[in-house]
Symmetry: C2
Subunit: 257 residues, 2 copies
Protein backbone atom coordinates (compact mmCIF):
# COMPACT_ATOMS: atom_id res chain seq x y z
CA UNK A 1 0.00 0.00 0.00
CA UNK A 2 1.20 3.48 -0.84
CA UNK A 3 2.32 5.58 2.11
CA UNK A 4 -0.35 8.20 2.79
CA UNK A 5 0.58 11.87 2.78
CA UNK A 6 0.85 13.62 6.13
CA UNK A 7 -0.49 17.18 6.30
CA UNK A 8 -0.41 19.59 9.25
CA UNK A 9 -3.28 22.07 9.28
CA UNK A 10 -3.37 25.25 11.33
CA UNK A 11 -5.06 28.64 11.05
CA UNK A 12 -5.66 31.91 12.86
CA UNK A 13 -9.44 31.82 13.22
CA UNK A 14 -9.28 29.07 15.86
CA UNK A 15 -9.62 25.30 15.83
CA UNK A 16 -13.43 25.27 15.58
CA UNK A 17 -13.73 27.61 12.60
CA UNK A 18 -15.70 26.49 9.53
CA UNK A 19 -12.86 27.25 7.16
CA UNK A 20 -10.54 24.82 8.94
CA UNK A 21 -13.25 22.17 9.25
CA UNK A 22 -14.09 22.24 5.53
CA UNK A 23 -10.41 22.16 4.56
CA UNK A 24 -9.69 19.19 6.82
CA UNK A 25 -12.58 17.12 5.44
CA UNK A 26 -11.37 17.67 1.88
CA UNK A 27 -7.71 16.93 2.72
CA UNK A 28 -8.64 13.71 4.54
CA UNK A 29 -9.48 12.22 1.13
CA UNK A 30 -5.76 12.32 0.25
CA UNK A 31 -3.84 12.46 3.55
CA UNK A 32 -3.55 11.84 7.25
CA UNK A 33 -4.31 15.27 8.68
CA UNK A 34 -2.98 16.55 12.00
CA UNK A 35 -4.68 19.67 13.37
CA UNK A 36 -2.86 22.06 15.70
CA UNK A 37 -4.58 25.42 15.88
CA UNK A 38 -5.19 28.33 18.26
CA UNK A 39 -7.92 27.88 20.86
CA UNK A 40 -9.26 31.36 19.96
CA UNK A 41 -9.35 34.02 17.20
CA UNK A 42 -5.80 35.28 16.42
CA UNK A 43 -6.34 37.54 13.40
CA UNK A 44 -3.80 40.29 12.63
CA UNK A 45 -1.37 38.67 15.03
CA UNK A 46 1.49 38.85 12.48
CA UNK A 47 4.36 36.45 12.99
CA UNK A 48 4.22 36.60 16.79
CA UNK A 49 5.68 33.79 18.86
CA UNK A 50 5.19 33.31 22.58
CA UNK A 51 8.36 33.38 24.66
CA UNK A 52 7.45 35.16 27.89
CA UNK A 53 4.87 32.68 29.12
CA UNK A 54 4.41 28.93 28.66
CA UNK A 55 1.91 27.39 26.22
CA UNK A 56 -0.94 25.04 27.11
CA UNK A 57 -2.22 22.35 24.77
CA UNK A 58 -5.67 20.75 24.91
CA UNK A 59 -6.87 17.70 23.02
CA UNK A 60 -10.12 18.62 21.36
CA UNK A 61 -12.96 16.36 20.14
CA UNK A 62 -15.60 16.93 17.46
CA UNK A 63 -18.65 14.72 16.98
CA UNK A 64 -17.35 12.41 19.72
CA UNK A 65 -13.97 11.79 18.05
CA UNK A 66 -10.49 13.18 18.64
CA UNK A 67 -10.12 16.15 16.29
CA UNK A 68 -6.87 17.97 17.08
CA UNK A 69 -4.79 20.06 19.46
CA UNK A 70 -5.88 23.51 20.63
CA UNK A 71 -3.05 25.78 21.76
CA UNK A 72 -3.39 29.00 23.76
CA UNK A 73 -0.91 30.72 21.47
CA UNK A 74 -0.42 32.22 18.04
CA UNK A 75 -0.58 30.47 14.64
CA UNK A 76 3.25 30.42 14.48
CA UNK A 77 3.35 28.88 17.98
CA UNK A 78 0.98 26.13 16.82
CA UNK A 79 3.12 25.14 13.85
CA UNK A 80 6.35 25.30 15.84
CA UNK A 81 4.90 23.21 18.66
CA UNK A 82 3.38 20.70 16.22
CA UNK A 83 6.58 20.12 14.28
CA UNK A 84 9.07 20.42 17.12
CA UNK A 85 7.10 18.48 19.71
CA UNK A 86 3.62 17.07 19.08
CA UNK A 87 4.13 15.20 15.77
CA UNK A 88 6.30 12.07 15.72
CA UNK A 89 7.39 12.73 12.13
CA UNK A 90 7.68 15.90 10.10
CA UNK A 91 4.60 16.35 7.92
CA UNK A 92 4.91 16.46 4.11
CA UNK A 93 3.00 19.73 3.97
CA UNK A 94 1.73 22.56 6.17
CA UNK A 95 -1.52 24.23 5.12
CA UNK A 96 -2.93 27.23 6.97
CA UNK A 97 -6.59 28.22 6.73
CA UNK A 98 -9.00 28.48 5.21
CA UNK A 99 -9.06 32.00 6.57
CA UNK A 100 -12.36 33.83 6.77
CA UNK A 101 -11.30 37.05 5.02
CA UNK A 102 -8.68 38.07 2.47
CA UNK A 103 -4.92 38.18 2.95
CA UNK A 104 -3.74 40.31 0.06
CA UNK A 105 -1.47 43.35 -0.39
CA UNK A 106 -0.10 44.79 2.84
CA UNK A 107 -2.39 42.53 4.89
CA UNK A 108 0.06 39.70 4.17
CA UNK A 109 2.34 41.37 6.72
CA UNK A 110 -0.33 41.40 9.44
CA UNK A 111 -1.73 37.97 8.66
CA UNK A 112 -1.79 35.18 11.21
CA UNK A 113 -2.87 32.78 8.47
CA UNK A 114 0.22 33.53 6.41
CA UNK A 115 2.45 33.39 9.51
CA UNK A 116 1.49 29.75 10.20
CA UNK A 117 2.56 28.80 6.67
CA UNK A 118 5.70 30.94 6.99
CA UNK A 119 6.65 29.05 10.15
CA UNK A 120 6.23 25.75 8.26
CA UNK A 121 8.56 27.11 5.57
CA UNK A 122 11.12 28.26 8.14
CA UNK A 123 11.11 24.71 9.52
CA UNK A 124 11.81 23.34 6.04
CA UNK A 125 8.36 22.03 5.09
CA UNK A 126 6.52 23.04 1.88
CA UNK A 127 3.65 25.24 3.05
CA UNK A 128 0.81 27.38 1.81
CA UNK A 129 -1.85 29.72 3.19
CA UNK A 130 -5.51 29.68 2.04
CA UNK A 131 -7.99 32.54 2.43
CA UNK A 132 -11.57 33.07 1.27
CA UNK A 133 -11.96 36.78 0.58
CA UNK A 134 -15.22 37.51 2.39
CA UNK A 135 -16.44 38.32 5.88
CA UNK A 136 -19.93 36.97 5.09
CA UNK A 137 -20.84 34.90 8.21
CA UNK A 138 -22.20 31.89 6.27
CA UNK A 139 -19.42 31.79 3.68
CA UNK A 140 -19.07 28.61 1.61
CA UNK A 141 -15.53 27.24 1.87
CA UNK A 142 -16.09 24.18 -0.33
CA UNK A 143 -14.52 25.38 -3.59
CA UNK A 144 -11.52 26.85 -1.72
CA UNK A 145 -11.07 23.48 0.02
CA UNK A 146 -11.14 21.63 -3.31
CA UNK A 147 -8.60 24.08 -4.70
CA UNK A 148 -6.37 23.48 -1.66
CA UNK A 149 -6.55 19.71 -2.19
CA UNK A 150 -5.43 20.02 -5.82
CA UNK A 151 -2.73 22.54 -4.90
CA UNK A 152 -1.46 20.21 -2.17
CA UNK A 153 -0.94 17.45 -4.75
CA UNK A 154 0.84 19.92 -7.03
CA UNK A 155 3.15 21.12 -4.25
CA UNK A 156 4.00 17.52 -3.39
CA UNK A 157 4.76 16.78 -7.05
CA UNK A 158 6.82 19.92 -7.81
CA UNK A 159 8.17 20.95 -4.41
CA UNK A 160 8.81 24.59 -3.47
CA UNK A 161 12.15 26.43 -3.42
CA UNK A 162 13.71 26.78 0.05
CA UNK A 163 12.29 29.75 1.88
CA UNK A 164 9.30 30.18 -0.44
CA UNK A 165 5.63 29.57 0.36
CA UNK A 166 2.37 30.20 -1.49
CA UNK A 167 -0.30 32.66 -0.44
CA UNK A 168 -3.67 31.75 -1.97
CA UNK A 169 -6.79 33.92 -2.01
CA UNK A 170 -10.07 32.58 -3.35
CA UNK A 171 -12.99 34.83 -4.37
CA UNK A 172 -16.26 34.11 -2.53
CA UNK A 173 -18.32 33.01 -5.55
CA UNK A 174 -19.75 29.64 -6.59
CA UNK A 175 -17.33 27.40 -8.49
CA UNK A 176 -19.23 28.04 -11.74
CA UNK A 177 -18.38 31.75 -11.50
CA UNK A 178 -14.65 31.30 -10.90
CA UNK A 179 -12.88 32.70 -13.96
CA UNK A 180 -9.53 30.97 -13.54
CA UNK A 181 -6.30 31.10 -11.55
CA UNK A 182 -3.62 33.80 -11.73
CA UNK A 183 -0.09 33.71 -10.37
CA UNK A 184 0.14 37.13 -8.77
CA UNK A 185 2.40 39.66 -7.08
CA UNK A 186 1.68 41.07 -3.62
CA UNK A 187 -0.20 44.35 -4.12
CA UNK A 188 0.77 47.71 -2.68
CA UNK A 189 -2.69 48.67 -1.48
CA UNK A 190 -2.69 49.80 2.15
CA UNK A 191 -5.29 50.49 4.82
CA UNK A 192 -6.61 54.01 5.29
CA UNK A 193 -6.78 53.28 8.99
CA UNK A 194 -8.27 55.69 11.45
CA UNK A 195 -8.61 55.56 15.20
CA UNK A 196 -12.02 56.33 16.56
CA UNK A 197 -11.68 57.96 19.98
CA UNK A 198 -14.41 57.05 22.48
CA UNK A 199 -15.05 57.52 26.20
CA UNK A 200 -15.65 54.62 28.60
CA UNK A 201 -18.32 54.85 31.37
CA UNK A 202 -15.64 56.38 33.65
CA UNK A 203 -14.97 59.06 30.99
CA UNK A 204 -11.53 57.71 30.13
CA UNK A 205 -10.54 57.77 26.47
CA UNK A 206 -9.94 54.66 24.35
CA UNK A 207 -9.27 54.09 20.64
CA UNK A 208 -10.73 51.64 18.14
CA UNK A 209 -8.86 50.92 14.92
CA UNK A 210 -11.03 51.01 11.81
CA UNK A 211 -10.43 51.41 8.08
CA UNK A 212 -10.54 49.80 4.69
CA UNK A 213 -8.07 48.67 2.07
CA UNK A 214 -7.44 51.45 -0.48
CA UNK A 215 -6.88 50.05 -3.98
CA UNK A 216 -3.57 51.38 -5.29
CA UNK A 217 -2.92 48.79 -8.01
CA UNK A 218 -4.67 48.11 -11.24
CA UNK A 219 -2.41 45.59 -12.95
CA UNK A 220 -4.02 42.24 -13.73
CA UNK A 221 -1.31 40.24 -11.94
CA UNK A 222 -1.83 41.82 -8.52
CA UNK A 223 -3.37 39.65 -5.77
CA UNK A 224 -6.20 42.02 -4.92
CA UNK A 225 -7.03 42.63 -8.60
CA UNK A 226 -7.33 38.89 -9.35
CA UNK A 227 -9.98 38.60 -6.64
CA UNK A 228 -11.97 41.51 -8.07
CA UNK A 229 -11.92 39.63 -11.40
CA UNK A 230 -13.28 36.47 -9.72
CA UNK A 231 -9.99 34.68 -10.20
CA UNK A 232 -8.05 32.64 -7.64
CA UNK A 233 -4.83 34.45 -6.69
CA UNK A 234 -1.66 32.43 -5.97
CA UNK A 235 1.31 34.53 -4.84
CA UNK A 236 4.75 33.00 -4.24
CA UNK A 237 6.19 34.78 -1.18
CA UNK A 238 9.40 34.49 0.81
CA UNK A 239 10.75 35.39 4.24
CA UNK A 240 14.06 36.75 3.00
CA UNK A 241 13.11 40.43 3.20
CA UNK A 242 16.40 41.75 1.76
CA UNK A 243 15.97 44.43 -0.91
CA UNK A 244 18.91 43.31 -3.08
CA UNK A 245 18.66 46.28 -5.44
CA UNK A 246 19.20 48.70 -2.56
CA UNK A 247 22.49 47.17 -1.43
CA UNK A 248 24.71 48.99 -3.96
CA UNK A 249 23.01 52.33 -3.25
CA UNK A 250 23.56 51.99 0.47
CA UNK A 251 27.23 51.19 0.01
CA UNK A 252 27.69 54.68 -1.40
CA UNK A 253 26.23 56.39 1.69
CA UNK A 254 28.36 58.04 4.32
CA UNK A 255 27.44 55.72 7.18
CA UNK A 256 30.84 54.46 8.18
CA UNK A 257 32.02 55.87 11.48
CA UNK B 1 15.80 79.58 11.70
CA UNK B 2 15.96 76.20 10.00
CA UNK B 3 12.96 73.94 10.57
CA UNK B 4 13.95 71.22 13.00
CA UNK B 5 13.59 67.57 11.99
CA UNK B 6 10.70 65.64 13.48
CA UNK B 7 11.41 62.03 14.48
CA UNK B 8 8.99 59.45 15.88
CA UNK B 9 10.63 56.87 18.14
CA UNK B 10 9.08 53.57 19.15
CA UNK B 11 10.35 50.15 20.22
CA UNK B 12 9.27 46.75 21.51
CA UNK B 13 11.04 46.71 24.89
CA UNK B 14 8.66 49.29 26.34
CA UNK B 15 8.74 53.04 26.83
CA UNK B 16 11.02 52.96 29.89
CA UNK B 17 13.77 50.81 28.37
CA UNK B 18 17.37 52.05 28.41
CA UNK B 19 17.81 51.53 24.68
CA UNK B 20 14.98 53.92 23.87
CA UNK B 21 16.12 56.45 26.47
CA UNK B 22 19.68 56.59 25.13
CA UNK B 23 18.47 56.84 21.53
CA UNK B 24 16.08 59.69 22.34
CA UNK B 25 18.77 61.75 24.13
CA UNK B 26 21.08 61.46 21.15
CA UNK B 27 18.34 62.27 18.60
CA UNK B 28 17.23 65.34 20.56
CA UNK B 29 20.49 67.01 19.48
CA UNK B 30 19.18 67.08 15.89
CA UNK B 31 15.39 66.80 16.07
CA UNK B 32 12.11 67.19 17.89
CA UNK B 33 11.46 63.67 19.11
CA UNK B 34 7.99 62.22 19.72
CA UNK B 35 7.90 58.98 21.69
CA UNK B 36 5.02 56.52 21.31
CA UNK B 37 5.94 53.09 22.65
CA UNK B 38 4.38 50.03 24.27
CA UNK B 39 3.69 50.21 28.00
CA UNK B 40 5.28 46.75 28.41
CA UNK B 41 7.72 44.28 26.82
CA UNK B 42 6.47 43.20 23.36
CA UNK B 43 9.37 41.09 22.04
CA UNK B 44 8.72 38.48 19.32
CA UNK B 45 5.33 40.02 18.69
CA UNK B 46 5.89 40.10 14.92
CA UNK B 47 3.81 42.54 12.93
CA UNK B 48 0.71 42.17 15.11
CA UNK B 49 -1.91 44.89 15.21
CA UNK B 50 -4.76 45.14 17.67
CA UNK B 51 -8.23 45.02 16.14
CA UNK B 52 -10.39 43.03 18.57
CA UNK B 53 -10.06 45.34 21.53
CA UNK B 54 -9.54 49.08 21.90
CA UNK B 55 -6.20 50.69 22.75
CA UNK B 56 -5.45 52.89 25.76
CA UNK B 57 -2.88 55.68 25.72
CA UNK B 58 -1.17 57.15 28.77
CA UNK B 59 0.96 60.28 28.92
CA UNK B 60 4.16 59.36 30.68
CA UNK B 61 6.66 61.59 32.53
CA UNK B 62 10.36 61.11 33.24
CA UNK B 63 12.36 63.26 35.66
CA UNK B 64 9.27 65.40 36.20
CA UNK B 65 8.81 66.25 32.51
CA UNK B 66 6.44 64.93 29.83
CA UNK B 67 8.31 62.12 28.06
CA UNK B 68 5.93 60.37 25.68
CA UNK B 69 2.86 58.21 25.09
CA UNK B 70 2.62 54.66 26.45
CA UNK B 71 0.20 52.40 24.55
CA UNK B 72 -1.18 49.06 25.74
CA UNK B 73 -0.57 47.59 22.30
CA UNK B 74 2.08 46.30 19.94
CA UNK B 75 4.94 48.26 18.31
CA UNK B 76 2.97 48.44 15.03
CA UNK B 77 -0.06 49.77 16.96
CA UNK B 78 2.12 52.50 18.47
CA UNK B 79 3.40 53.74 15.12
CA UNK B 80 -0.04 53.57 13.49
CA UNK B 81 -1.66 55.43 16.38
CA UNK B 82 1.13 58.03 16.46
CA UNK B 83 0.98 58.84 12.77
CA UNK B 84 -2.77 58.45 12.23
CA UNK B 85 -3.90 60.17 15.41
CA UNK B 86 -1.50 61.49 18.04
CA UNK B 87 0.91 63.57 15.93
CA UNK B 88 -0.33 66.75 14.29
CA UNK B 89 2.08 66.39 11.36
CA UNK B 90 3.72 63.34 9.81
CA UNK B 91 7.26 62.92 11.16
CA UNK B 92 10.27 63.06 8.82
CA UNK B 93 11.54 59.73 10.14
CA UNK B 94 10.49 56.75 12.24
CA UNK B 95 13.21 55.04 14.28
CA UNK B 96 12.54 51.89 16.29
CA UNK B 97 14.79 50.78 19.16
CA UNK B 98 17.39 50.56 20.32
CA UNK B 99 16.39 46.96 20.91
CA UNK B 100 18.10 45.02 23.67
CA UNK B 101 19.09 41.94 21.64
CA UNK B 102 19.82 41.17 17.99
CA UNK B 103 17.35 41.14 15.09
CA UNK B 104 19.20 39.23 12.40
CA UNK B 105 18.43 36.31 10.07
CA UNK B 106 15.03 34.71 10.62
CA UNK B 107 14.50 36.78 13.78
CA UNK B 108 13.66 39.71 11.52
CA UNK B 109 10.32 37.96 10.90
CA UNK B 110 9.52 37.68 14.62
CA UNK B 111 10.82 41.10 15.57
CA UNK B 112 8.63 43.72 17.18
CA UNK B 113 11.44 46.26 16.72
CA UNK B 114 11.48 45.74 12.98
CA UNK B 115 7.68 45.76 12.82
CA UNK B 116 7.50 49.31 14.21
CA UNK B 117 9.84 50.51 11.45
CA UNK B 118 7.91 48.46 8.87
CA UNK B 119 4.70 50.19 9.92
CA UNK B 120 6.39 53.58 9.43
CA UNK B 121 7.42 52.46 5.93
CA UNK B 122 3.89 51.25 5.13
CA UNK B 123 2.63 54.70 6.10
CA UNK B 124 5.10 56.29 3.70
CA UNK B 125 7.74 57.56 6.13
CA UNK B 126 11.46 56.69 5.86
CA UNK B 127 12.14 54.32 8.76
CA UNK B 128 14.79 52.16 10.34
CA UNK B 129 15.19 49.67 13.17
CA UNK B 130 18.14 49.65 15.60
CA UNK B 131 19.28 46.70 17.71
CA UNK B 132 22.22 46.13 20.03
CA UNK B 133 23.16 42.47 19.77
CA UNK B 134 23.45 41.52 23.43
CA UNK B 135 21.25 40.46 26.32
CA UNK B 136 23.78 41.75 28.88
CA UNK B 137 21.60 43.59 31.48
CA UNK B 138 23.87 46.66 31.72
CA UNK B 139 24.47 47.00 28.01
CA UNK B 140 25.92 50.30 26.77
CA UNK B 141 23.71 51.79 24.03
CA UNK B 142 25.75 54.96 23.50
CA UNK B 143 27.65 54.01 20.33
CA UNK B 144 24.51 52.52 18.75
CA UNK B 145 22.67 55.79 19.52
CA UNK B 146 25.44 57.85 17.88
CA UNK B 147 25.29 55.57 14.85
CA UNK B 148 21.52 56.06 14.68
CA UNK B 149 21.92 59.84 14.77
CA UNK B 150 24.36 59.79 11.84
CA UNK B 151 22.18 57.30 9.92
CA UNK B 152 19.12 59.51 10.50
CA UNK B 153 20.91 62.42 8.82
CA UNK B 154 21.92 60.17 5.93
CA UNK B 155 18.37 58.87 5.46
CA UNK B 156 17.06 62.44 5.42
CA UNK B 157 19.69 63.41 2.86
CA UNK B 158 19.30 60.41 0.50
CA UNK B 159 15.76 59.20 1.18
CA UNK B 160 14.73 55.55 0.94
CA UNK B 161 12.93 53.82 -1.94
CA UNK B 162 9.18 53.30 -1.37
CA UNK B 163 8.52 50.17 0.65
CA UNK B 164 12.12 49.80 1.85
CA UNK B 165 13.45 50.23 5.38
CA UNK B 166 16.80 49.62 7.06
CA UNK B 167 17.46 47.01 9.72
CA UNK B 168 20.56 47.90 11.74
CA UNK B 169 22.37 45.64 14.22
CA UNK B 170 25.26 46.97 16.30
CA UNK B 171 27.78 44.69 18.04
CA UNK B 172 28.03 45.18 21.83
CA UNK B 173 31.63 46.40 21.97
CA UNK B 174 33.17 49.79 22.80
CA UNK B 175 33.36 52.22 19.86
CA UNK B 176 37.13 51.71 19.64
CA UNK B 177 36.60 48.02 18.83
CA UNK B 178 34.02 48.56 16.07
CA UNK B 179 35.66 47.40 12.84
CA UNK B 180 33.42 49.20 10.37
CA UNK B 181 29.99 49.06 8.76
CA UNK B 182 28.75 46.46 6.26
CA UNK B 183 25.68 46.59 4.06
CA UNK B 184 24.34 43.07 4.53
CA UNK B 185 21.75 40.52 3.41
CA UNK B 186 19.32 38.88 5.82
CA UNK B 187 20.89 35.58 6.90
CA UNK B 188 19.28 32.17 6.68
CA UNK B 189 20.18 31.03 10.20
CA UNK B 190 17.19 29.67 12.09
CA UNK B 191 16.41 28.74 15.69
CA UNK B 192 16.86 25.14 16.82
CA UNK B 193 13.84 25.64 19.03
CA UNK B 194 12.66 23.03 21.46
CA UNK B 195 9.70 22.93 23.80
CA UNK B 196 10.48 21.97 27.37
CA UNK B 197 7.48 20.13 28.83
CA UNK B 198 6.85 20.80 32.53
CA UNK B 199 4.11 20.09 35.07
CA UNK B 200 2.34 22.79 37.05
CA UNK B 201 1.50 22.33 40.78
CA UNK B 202 -1.83 20.76 39.68
CA UNK B 203 0.13 18.24 37.53
CA UNK B 204 -1.08 19.77 34.26
CA UNK B 205 1.43 19.98 31.45
CA UNK B 206 2.77 23.21 29.97
CA UNK B 207 5.48 24.03 27.42
CA UNK B 208 8.29 26.60 27.42
CA UNK B 209 9.93 27.57 24.17
CA UNK B 210 13.73 27.58 24.26
CA UNK B 211 16.53 27.45 21.70
CA UNK B 212 19.36 29.26 20.04
CA UNK B 213 20.19 30.63 16.61
CA UNK B 214 22.06 28.04 14.54
CA UNK B 215 24.61 29.66 12.24
CA UNK B 216 23.95 28.54 8.67
CA UNK B 217 25.76 31.30 6.80
CA UNK B 218 29.43 32.12 6.56
CA UNK B 219 29.53 34.81 3.88
CA UNK B 220 30.94 38.15 5.00
CA UNK B 221 27.88 40.12 3.82
CA UNK B 222 25.37 38.32 6.04
CA UNK B 223 23.85 40.25 8.96
CA UNK B 224 24.78 37.75 11.66
CA UNK B 225 28.33 37.35 10.29
CA UNK B 226 28.97 41.12 10.36
CA UNK B 227 28.16 41.17 14.08
CA UNK B 228 30.54 38.28 14.79
CA UNK B 229 33.24 40.36 13.03
CA UNK B 230 32.49 43.37 15.29
CA UNK B 231 31.01 45.29 12.37
CA UNK B 232 27.75 47.22 12.27
CA UNK B 233 25.24 45.47 9.99
CA UNK B 234 22.84 47.55 7.85
CA UNK B 235 20.31 45.47 5.86
CA UNK B 236 17.88 47.07 3.40
CA UNK B 237 14.60 45.16 3.77
CA UNK B 238 11.17 45.42 2.18
CA UNK B 239 7.61 44.35 2.87
CA UNK B 240 6.86 43.19 -0.65
CA UNK B 241 7.33 39.48 0.04
CA UNK B 242 6.76 38.35 -3.57
CA UNK B 243 9.31 35.83 -4.83
CA UNK B 244 9.49 37.17 -8.39
CA UNK B 245 11.69 34.35 -9.65
CA UNK B 246 9.08 31.79 -8.68
CA UNK B 247 6.27 33.36 -10.72
CA UNK B 248 7.25 31.76 -14.06
CA UNK B 249 7.67 28.32 -12.48
CA UNK B 250 4.25 28.46 -10.86
CA UNK B 251 2.60 29.41 -14.14
CA UNK B 252 3.63 26.01 -15.51
CA UNK B 253 1.91 24.09 -12.70
CA UNK B 254 -1.40 22.36 -13.13
CA UNK B 255 -3.36 24.46 -10.69
CA UNK B 256 -6.10 25.77 -12.90
CA UNK B 257 -9.47 24.19 -12.15
Amino acid sequence: MEKKLSILVSNDDGIFSDGLGTLVKELQTIANVTIVAPDSQQSAIGHAITMHRPLRVQEVSKEGKFFGYAVDGTPADCVKLAIRHLMKYKPDLVISGINHGSNTAVSVIYSGTVSAATEGTILGIPSFAMSLTTFEPNADFSYAAKFARNLALNVIEHGLPNGTLLNVNVPPVPESEIRGVVVTRQGKSIWNDEFEARRDPGNKQYFWLKGELVELDDEEDIDQRAILNNKVSVTPIQFDLTNYEMIKTLQSWNITK
